[in-house]
Symmetry: C2
Subunit: 192 residues, 2 copies
Amino acid sequence: MDAKEILKQHIAKTATLTDEQFDYLFSHFKAQSYKKGQVVISEGDKVDNEYFVISGCLKAFFINDEIKMYILQFAMPTWWTSDYGALYNHTRATISIDCITDAEVLCLSNHDREKICNELHQAEHFFRWRTNRGYLASQKRLLSFMNNDTKARYEELLSLYPQLYNLVPKHLIAAYLGVSRETLSRLYHAHK
Amino acid sequence: MDAKEILKQHIAKTATLTDEQFDYLFSHFKAQSYKKGQVVISEGDKVDNEYFVISGCLKAFFINDEIKMYILQFAMPTWWTSDYGALYNHTRATISIDCITDAEVLCLSNHDREKICNELHQAEHFFRWRTNRGYLASQKRLLSFMNNDTKARYEELLSLYPQLYNLVPKHLIAAYLGVSRETLSRLYHAHK
DNA sequence: GTGCCTACGTGATGTATATCACATTCTGCA
DNA sequence: TGCAGAATGTGATATACATCACGTAGGCAC
């Protein structure tokens, strides 16, 4: 299945577009390939695009003053990613994004998204629901952070995304869970 | 300023509606008054409405198996609140909402929101941006949780909402920060 | 193959915070 | 006004986790 078809089916779950409308929408996306390790958005950058993942795995992360990294999102196929704070508010990036594996994405500029949302009611409908789901996921993760200990969050992550365990190095999983790599290692080996 | 005018100005910041369109939108809201301590949504309830706060302060919270409470949101005037997971997915409430002070709200049913979004492109635009902002706030709080210690999060909360300090009991602030009330008390008295 | 860099494991130690227990102060209201 | 319950302060102890230090194993360049 090619990128266009993947996006089409993804959107069809939420919004009803004619083929012509989808073709018009799709004409604003730009395909892009990245190699493992390549940087998509770097802290301080001007942010113009958001990215729809076709294949591979990216990470969106924040680096604090003590050079500690926190991972906000592992972006897998059919996920959207960007520094949305910077994108929506036209500020410089505080979040960086790079590729954990080789990856193919479709880029959509902020300007074009707003233009299309304005032109096509159903596109606006789609993007409203996409954000709804992101909001719910974010709130769920926040609750999990407050309520569960590290071990429970680790098991929750792996049961949700079993492919992550073999795909990404453990210190990145630790950075997602917000614990040190040492603690994660001990947790993993402690219980059988 | 009455409830209708407050909602009108709130929406006008994001979307352009004619007076007729706004009147039509507003006709779907239902005004409601609550007393301090009154429950709006209780865990296990069927959730049909979301709430736009006109006056007062509500809290949206989660109670875990060990009867510990975590506060997801203090809902202040011009904020929206509900158990959005239950509302969007038509499941039973896992989040409860009650009133910290006497409060006035405008209720909007999920059914009516979707109907209006379908009928009025600008309404869909408004709700997309409302959720965008909620998503960004949630992500920011998640990052703050991972990156900052309790004291920094406490100061961040009070600098963002100074009125909270006198409005809500400290054990609720602790439940928002995700620490015990004892720790919050010690933190507060430790530094000067 | 040699050497280097990255990932990963593991022990020792320090620290922030939870938890339990109890004292004190505040507040609504009968 | 006085009282009960809620809110808050504070000490003692336990614990999860960070941090530092060091060791090992695997992949890749040359």
